[in-house]
Subunit: 325 residues, 2 copies
């Protein structure tokens, strides 16, 4: 049976607030199908201006007044009460702010705030590689490593909003320094910044400077790693093996603790290296859970506007919409 | 306001099926207060006899016919559909059996099956050290290491029933052999059997045989570790440091992934070593979560008949009782 054109029930608005742009979409709360699309530049004069810009962006969406809730995804910590920040990628947002309260006074409908990575994980669960699974972990490997956990068809945010910080799980006791000040965290092994720093440390005392010669003084990119692999550069191969092992260990532990049947992997490095990198993780002896079985490991589907759509789905969940699975 | 004597609503039955005894209690589904207590020896002629004995034990409880559900805790894997086993501690229960189906045909009310360690964690959450917390991890350190995870006031069993297997999380890649066939698992570092095996390995090539001289050919007991500590035996100190570090690492990772505000620690070794062992875990550099803050680490309250009461609470949850928090 084909669906009638357009949303068949009152829509929800999803907003993705990034360092460069604020993007709003009107989304069907069950199918996740998105309509309308408004994008504005993120103000650089602090969070008050960002709040105004969020409101204007939503008001720019045709049909926004028919919405029954609005979800906002932000690149920073979010408490369950909707206190948000600091957001290092947004100029001037250096302190936590009661964003949900502020926005609730501006909209006629409920406001739900989420972390942007969590929103991306929720979109992947409902519309992407996680479709049909009640439980999954999404890991996004970019400059850093973020994640989102879905248990029983719901995003797990934790009682203080801090759940899913998969990049800061310890994989090697006393291991590589992490950007957060800790040691041996997954992000230091699998994130681009961590691989970059380790590449420079090892290149300093090594005759092999192939990767360094590609990167020079700029930050390491996923394409440099792809080029290093293509050239059979031993340092690139080692660094990616260590990244795969670290991911395998964290995935194996999460699968064992939570009995997860599915892990979805995305982000810049994964998008670039694809199935070969997945195969490397699967081959690691640390991969796989104990007991009721291992997990499938699949690539994320890189959905359009996943942050905005995920924020809309989070808002739909918060007002009690079933996800239709 | 004081409660009236006796349950103020229809009770639930909780049954703890162990290797030696089957214990049944009549439990108030909200307060967890237990009345009546019947204990029978566990049959040694296979699971069919155990099923009969469970039914007889419940029927021996005064007032069992007023119950609205029965929960059963078993020492083995349990699927969400109530398929149970193998249970290595119960003679002859070598294969999975559809226990929930079998028992549903014998009782007039809903039957819910759970893993015994999970039931103990649930009791600790509702009535013990976890009271008032929506999210917690319970870890029980004995011969092995088991656990139970509570998120949003609900026991997490996982889509295949395998969640909470905290003892088989990897803490050291390629580390000590674990009883399950894996390597570097928490249980190999913190469980009594794992410590025992490591003690024998190290004593073989060492002039210091203090701990071995206490234990001789019998299995290591928690009291041996307490005696070794009292005598400042270096091997005992090292083994317990390694156990504390392994626990700290697993706890830190679980707290980071799930934003847990509370970890409850119990079981033979912990009961014996008490706060000093907790302090050792807290001092480890790996303890503590990232982001929204660390967790409290507290001793379990060693509730009476925690397995049976927890099984009853599981059954109460399954028929939709709120836990009253």
């Amino acid at each position: 049976m084909s669906e009638p054109a357009g949303p068949s029930r009152p829509p929800v608005v999803g907003v993705d607030v990034g360092g460069s742009n604020i993007l709003a979409r009107l989304v069907d709360p069950v199918s996740g199908q998105a309509e309308g699309r408004v994008k504005t530049g993120t103000p650089v004069d602090g969070p008050d201006a960002v709040v105004e810009s969020i409101v204007e962006t939503v008001h720019g969406l045709e049909g926004w007044e028919t919405a029954q809730a609005v979800g906002i995804g932000l690149p920073g910590p979010v408490t369950p009460g909707g206190v948000t920040g600091p957001c290092p990628n947004i100029v001037g947002w250096d302190e936590p702010m009661a964003l949900a309260d502020r926005l609730s006074r501006r909209f006629e409908f409920p406001v739900m705030i989420g972390n942007d990575v969590n929103c991306g994980a929720l979109a992947e669960h409902r519309l992407g590689a996680g479709k049909g699974y009640s439980d999954m972990l999404a890991i996004f490997v970019g400059t850093g490593v973020g994640g989102g956990l879905i248990l029983g068809d719901r995003l797990v945010v934790g009682p203080r909003g801090g759940a899913g910080e998969i990049g800061h799980l310890t994989v090697v006791a006393g291991g590589r320094p992490c950007g957060c000040g800790g040691f041996g965290h997954l992000e230091a092994y699998a994130g681009r910044a961590g691989i970059d720093a380790e590449m420079r440390r090892r290149s300093a005392g090594d005759a092999n400077r192939f990767l360094l010669s590609l990167v020079e003084d700029s930050p390491l990119k996923s394409r440099h790693l792809a080029a290093g692999l293509k050239a059979d550069d031993p340092l690139t191969i080692t660094l990616l093996e260590e990244a795969a092992d670290a991911l395998a260990r964290v995935i194996g532990n999460a699968v064992t603790l939570l009995d997860l049947p599915l892990v979805v992997l995305g982000g810049g490095i994964v998008d670039r290296l694809g199935d070969a990198f997945l195969a490397q993780i699967l081959e690691s002896s640390d991969f796989g859970g104990f007991g009721s079985g291992s997990a499938e490991l699949v690539l994320a589907q890189r959905l359009d506007d996943a942050g905005a759509v995920g924020a809309a789905l989070l808002a739909a969940d918060s007002i009690g919409y079933d996800n239709g699975q």
